[in-house]
């Protein structure tokens, strides 16, 4: 049925008829729910959404969304999505990927899509483990992690996904957590509104192979103690009673206790629009993301800058040249140098 403005979409409109086959208790359910709640609020007709994924647990996502969907091959979703967006700018293209899909086998496509600022939204579900292949360590697994493929502990240094995105020149970089529903929805909305590549890391619990990987952040006390909720133009304050803050020494971030004369005014005011990505990179680096270190875990929007998108640039050139250089197919086929053989076998330069 054609969707019109008269019939506002609901969450139900985005639920497909397919049985969801993630493990019971998987963090992916919450993310699916958040997306199904956010999409109807974006004011975009359902048929304009395309969700592209690669391979892995997270990449089953498109099957559960009643939109156009493409479950592609391992690591290549950003490339498929780029081809869609370059030729169909009217579509709202989302990529759903995981830490192995995006950062290991598909690392090249991820960084180049971000570098080009293709107008697609990339949701990276980071559970720090390979789930669908049954429990090997991933490029985001912490050092020393024991898995089936690292029985003696991993000696493989992990990536910080945010730093990959910032380093690749992403114009929108954000992070949220599967179980922080209001926060996750707000971040998804921000990503949806961004013009250009939007990269969102979603910390996601794999209760089978890497349970409680983010428990220090997601449990009752962790949410306040260990989460740093970034807001543009607001000071970096966190803690149970907003009693701690972060200040910038000029070279590093430093946790300060508020009170005794120290106030939020002593903390750095967060600027997500800073053109130089260095501060966002440093902010992403303060924590490994699990809430176990001395610093809190930065959540929310780290970076959101305006920049031209690749797809628009490509399409603008095509539009300009289509107007500026009108040429028929016949002219193209003829080229510039032709000769004609007439019925008598005589040859002369040029066309008939």
């Amino acid at each position: 049925m054609p969707v019109t403005e008269a019939t506002p979409l609901t969450r139900k409109d985005f639920q497909s008829d397919q049985e969801v086959r993630w493990c019971p208790g998987c963090g992916d359910y919450a993310i699916l729910s958040a997306v199904q709640q956010v999409f109807p609020e974006l004011g975009i007709p359902r048929e304009k959404f395309v969700i592209v994924s690669g391979i892995g647990c997270s990449s089953r996502f498109p099957y559960y969304m009643n939109t156009y969907g493409f479950h592609s091959i391992h690591g290549r979703a950003p490339a498929v999505a780029t081809g869609i967006k370059m030729t169909r700018p009217d579509l709202d293209v989302w990529v759903v990927t995981g830490d192995g899909d995006a950062l290991s086998i598909g690392g090249n496509h991820l960084i180049h899509t971000l570098r080009r600022n293709v107008n697609v939204k990339i949701l990276l579900f980071n559970n720090r483990v390979y789930g669908l292949t049954k429990g090997q360590y991933s490029p985001t697994s912490e050092l020393g992690k024991r898995t089936k493929s690292t029985p003696d502990g991993s000696v493989d240094f992990p990536f910080n996904p945010l730093n990959i995105a910032i380093g690749a020149g992403a114009t929108f970089v954000a992070r949220s957590v599967d179980v922080f529903m209001p926060h996750l929805k707000a971040v998804l909305k921000r990503a949806a509104a961004h013009k250009g590549s939007a990269f969102v890391e979603v910390m996601q619990n794999c209760n089978i192979y890497n349970d409680k990987a983010f428990a220090a952040l997601t449990d009752k006390t962790g949410r306040q103690q260990n989460g740093l909720y970034l807001e543009h133009g607001k000071p970096l304050v966190f803690g149970d009673n907003q009693d701690k803050g972060l200040r910038f020494t000029g070279t590093d971030f430093e946790v300060i206790e508020l009170g005794n004369g120290r106030t939020a005014d002593d903390c750095l005011v967060w600027d997500e629009k800073h053109t130089n990505p260095s501060l966002a990179f440093q902010m992403a680096s303060i924590s490994t993301g699990d809430g176990l270190g001395d610093f809190p875990v930065p959540l929310g929007v780290l970076r959101a800058i305006d920049a031209p998108t690749y797809d628009a640039g490509v399409i603008d050139q095509i539009d300009e040249l289509t107007t500026a250089r009108p040429q028929t197919l016949d002219q193209l086929i003829h080229g510039t140098d032709t000769w004609t053989v007439d019925a008598g076998g005589n040859v002369h330069r040029g066309a008939n």
Binding site: E47, Y68, S72, I73, T87, L91, P326, L332, V341
Partner: protein, 621 residues
């Protein structure tokens, strides 16, 4: 043919001789501009109305060490007053800009052939670099040829004495001195090249004029001195009436894809990663944005094919173009297109291999790769272009198959026809096939894997269409519904269905036609770029009174429906291939017929005579 040596006429004026056919090879250092020189001679001859065929041969290195054998770049062109099929087996004329160029090309030169050398480059140092122990211009080693010694560099500098250009820039014009001489020797006009220079260097007129001056100096040198005793002419070929242009295979492929885009109404999207010898397709299509063409230089071969698949999903004409090493990387992507049943055209401009192999040399050894180089049962239609101009028609056919059957299609070309040129009789646009495509619109009863009962194609339902929201992917699909399905019977059904869909193409493609006797002792069967050499050889065999037939395959998967019957009608079947017998393997497996392979994997095409000798052996001459 051998160029006649007529005696000098009175007053020192050169005699004039008309020849029907001549082969000229320009050879020099990679930086000497030999490809450009050869191309100019080709284009001028095309405008005169000669039939022609070219064979560029250049090293993989952009600038190998100057003066060395690996750095030699050559361009062979054959012009004729009749229909020709190959760039010629042996040059009649060799222009050698340095000792290395002479050494690398001399063995191919016809006896009594003409050699023009740049004596300025025959220094002890350059002779040593080329591996000459003594100067071939001074010993007797070139006695079997007609040697013309010209101080090209000195004459070029002299011609440009008044030019403001620096010496290096002046010396770079010396190829145009040689070109001017060859234009005189073969009675060609200078105007087309002068026109070209003035357009090409419109922002640097001093360069254009220096080259014009030097080219005229070369012409005048021949005209006023008695350097040459004979001057030749090659009359226009008696080609079928029509308008012609000279075209390279890669250019014909690019234009063919644009034509297919226009005839189908689908915007063309090319995802590509630079690779020799396919890059020119990307370069050329990048200049056709005004035809709505999107070119995407992706981060790698995998992204190139995946972006094209994404574009096809969105309703564009997705194309990816590469050579063997790149095709290997695309295998998983092509298989995704097999599974999701989306149209996709993969162009494989084959080169020598395996691995990096011989990037600038030609080979036909990717046939089995494109047939079978993917995991599991992965049927993909395969078609091959047989000449530079045929790349145009083959591009249209690839698009037709891809959109009609909702399948990836592989188009095989190779370095020989990609870089080679020939005259192309320009078709009328309205005579091109109608490739119009209807996207599925009807939401009632829509299932993503329901099928056209004739072609077995599934509907092309593109995002943005209300009510047709659906999901596709690489997991096995249930027929009709398109739901993920792991049931044994469904998988067996789908594997057979995908194979049957491709096999049914044989129902509507043309039957293979036999030239010559329709049955008998010997059939020469070819595919791809061997067409010219095979045609030339069989024509000569007929002229020599031999009984032989020939046929040529465009469709390699599926084969034309009458192929088995055709093979059975001949006692012996000879398949010349630039590989170790890949088509022969397929034919034997499919038809249980013994096939005799004639292999050549030297990185260069068959000569006519090589195939002719084999026919003579087999047909008993």
């Amino acid at each position: 043919m051998t160029l006649p040596i007529a005696g000098q006429t009175d007053a020192g004026k050169a005699a004039e001789a008309t020849v029907s056919d001549v082969v000229i090879r320009f050879a020099g250092d990679s930086g000497d501009g030999m490809q450009l020189t050869g191309t100019q001679f080709t284009n001028t001859s095309a405008l005169i109305g000669n039939d022609l065929s070219t064979l560029p041969d250049f090293p993989a290195e952009i600038r190998a060490p100057a003066g060395t054998l690996p750095g030699v770049s050559a361009f062979q062109v054959r012009i004729a007053d009749h229909d020709i099929h190959t760039p010629g087996d042996a040059p009649d004329v060799l222009v050698a800009m340095n000792p290395a160029a002479l050494k690398a090309n001399l063995r191919d030169l016809r006896d009594n052939g003409v050699i023009i050398v740049n004596t300025d480059e025959f220094t002890p140092r350059n002779l040593k670099r080329a591996g000459y122990e003594s100067n071939p211009l001074e010993d007797d080693s070139l006695n079997a040829f007609r040697l013309y010694q010209v101080a090209l560099t000195t004459m070029t500098r002299r011609a440009l004495e008044e030019s403001e250009l620096d010496v290096r820039s002046k010396d770079r014009c010396k190829n145009f001195l040689a070109l001017g001489m060859i234009y005189w020797l073969f009675s060609r006009p200078l105007e087309p090249t002068i026109d070209w220079l003035r357009v090409k260097f419109r922002r640097r007129p001093e360069i254009a004029e220096a080259n014009v001056k030097v080219m005229k100096a070369g012409w005048n040198f021949c005209d006023i001195t008695d350097a040459f005793q004979v001057r030749y002419d090659v009359e226009p070929a008696k080609l079928e009436p029509g308008t012609y242009r000279s075209i390279h295979g890669n250019s014909a492929l690019a234009i063919g894809l644009v034509a297919a885009s226009r005839r189908s109404g689908l915007p063309l999207f090319l995802g590509a990663y630079p690779i020799t010898p396919a890059s020119d397709v990307l370069h050329e299509l990048a200049t056709y944005k005004h035809f709505g063409v999107t070119t995407y230089q992706a981060e790698d071969e995998i992204a190139a094919v995946c972006s094209a698949i994404g574009a096809s999903f969105g309703g564009a004409l997705g194309v990816s173009c590469s050579s063997g090493p790149g095709i290997a990387l695309k295998a998983e992507g092509i298989n995704l297109a097999v599974m999701v049943e989306l149209p996709l055209v993969i162009c494989d401009i084959q080169r020598g291999g395996p691995s990096t192999g011989l990037p600038t040399k030609t080979e036909q050894a990717d046939l089995l790769q494109v047939m079978f180089g993917r995991n599991n049962e992965s049927p993909v239609p395969v078609i091959a272009a047989s000449s530079p101009a045929d790349c145009f028609d083959t591009a249209l056919e690839a698009v037709r198959l891809a959109t009609t059957y909702m399948t990836p299609v592989v188009l095989l070309s190779d370095g020989y026809i990609a870089n080679g040129a020939e005259p192309w009789r320009i078709p009328e646009v309205e005579d091109l096939p109608d490739l119009r495509v209807d996207f599925h619109q009807e939401a009632d009863g829509f299932m993503p894997y329901m099928r056209n009962q004739e072609t077995l194609a599934r509907p092309w339902a593109i995002p943005g269409t209300p009510g047709l929201e659906h999901r596709i992917g690489g997991l096995e699909k249930e027929d009709v519904t398109g739901n993920v399905n792991y049931e044994p019977e469904n998988h067996d059904h789908m594997v057979r269905l995908r194979a049957e869909k491709v096999a049914r193409i044989a129902n509507e493609i043309p039957e293979i036609e036999i030239e010559g006797p329709q049955s008998g002792k010997l059939l020469v069967l070819g595919w791809g770029s061997t067409l010219g050499a095979i045609t030339g050889a069989v024509n000569q065999a007929w002229a020599d009174g031999l009984t032989v037939s020939r046929a040529h395959l465009k469709h390699l998967n599926p084969f034309p429906r009458n192929l088995g019957d055709v093979l059975d009608r001949f006692e012996r079947v000879l398949v010349p291939e630039m590989n170790l017998g890949q088509l022969a393997l397929l034919l034997r497996a499919r038809y249980l017929k013994d096939i005799e392979t004639y292999s050549k994997v030297e990185g260069k095409p068959f000569t006519r005579d090589e195939i002719l000798h084999r026919i003579q052996q087999m047909a008993g001459a």
